[in-house]
């Protein structure tokens, strides 16, 4: 059987960190961009390196029960093997504990936990991906380690995936390496509510010894983590936060 070209799936690729990761990796990887908004994914494709191999798979992570069959059909139809998965899709909506509902908890968990897990499960299965997955990175948050008011479901669902990542890293070794990145504040559309607010933004930035991060800071580290140079790193939750989490200043 001829060896197939390796493909890397990037979720949340329609904006922010996911888009930046896709742009960075497009020079050396064939990519599948996924998200809900096809127009935005096409825009990401345009911003990738010229001549890069890019495919688009539309998926709604809010509907995890549809993920497996949809991705399975896509892989079969395109006749490809996916060897890398970078999960940058994420959902955050501030909500006081007193207003948490099954509905809001299920939506956070669907997007932040169930859907990426469904993807990993399919990619390590025989059909149709031929157990081809080798490298997986989950974008997580420092709110999976610490906390903030209004972020119960975000913290919980991100921490759930970080925990699952460790068991998968053991079960799937040595063939698959899985790691998660707990990011501090990054200048993205997701952080716009806070960063647009000069009062809040000033308070936030003062807690970051190296300032808040840029999408390129994350993309550069991911490029390393996907490379052979990182072949001995698995099962780790790595913090990229400009020193925020070790800052105990007055």
């Amino acid at each position: 059987m001829p060896i197939k070209e390796p493909w890397t799936l990037v979720s949340g690729a329609s904006s922010g960190i996911g888009r930046s990761i896709a742009m960075k990796l497009s020079g050396s990887n064939s990519l599948i961009l996924t998200g809900r908004n096809v127009d935005a994914l096409k825009e990401t494709k345009k911003q990738c390196k010229p001549g890069a191999d890019i495919k688009i798979w539309r998926a709604d992570f809010g509907q995890p029960s549809e993920i497996r069959s949809s991705l399975s059909d896509f892989i079969s139809h395109e006749d490809i093997e996916i060897t890398g998965f970078i999960n940058s899709a994420g959902f955050v909506k501030p909500e006081p504990v007193r207003l948490i509902s099954c509905e809001s908890s299920l939506l956070s968990t669907a997007i932040n936990y169930f859907s990426p897990l469904e993807i990993v499960s399919l990619l390590v299965s025989k059909n149709p991906n031929n157990r081809a997955l080798q490298k997986c990175i989950f974008i997580s948050s420092i709110w999976s380690i610490g906390g903030a008011p209004g972020h119960t479901n975000y913290s919980g669902s991100k921490a759930a995936l970080d925990g699952a990542m460790r068991s998968m890293a053991i079960e799937l070794a040595p063939k698959v390496r899985l790691n998660s990145l707990s990011l501090g504040a990054i200048n993205t559309p997701m952080a716009r509510q806070v960063l647009n607010d000069s009062d809040l933004a000033e308070k936030l930035i003062s807690k970051y010894p190296l300032g808040i991060g840029d999408v390129d800071d994350v993309a550069a580290f991911i490029e390393f983590l996907m490379s052979r140079g990182a072949r001995w790193i698995t099962g780790q939750n790595i913090v990229l936060d400009g020193g925020r989490s070790i800052n105990y200043s007055y």
Binding site: K93, P94, E95, P96, R98, L99, P149, G150, R192, Q193, N196, D197, S198, D199, L200
Partner: protein
């Protein structure tokens, strides 16, 4: 405006909120309620309202006028 007032009532855990109601007088009006409300406004109306903007807001309709103004401009 109805969706906005309904969401305010849900966040404040009251039966209903009228346009002329003063927001600070509600028992559950606090910084976290404001954060949740601003997230709703961003999602529903694609309008960013900051904590500085909120300093000038007294009634439910003050905030709605700000949303309408930002939404049009």
């Amino acid at each position: 405006m109805e969706d906005y007032l309904n969401e305010l009532a849900r966040l404040l855990e009251v039966g209903d909120v009228k346009p002329e109601d003063e927001l600070r007088k509600f028992e559950l009006w606090d910084s976290l309620t404001v954060l949740a409300l601003l997230a709703f406004i961003d999602e529903k109306y694609s309008v960013l309202v900051s904590s500085l903007d909120m300093a000038d807001v007294e009634t439910a309709s003050d905030l709605y006028k700000l949303i309408e103004f930002r939404n049009l401009s």
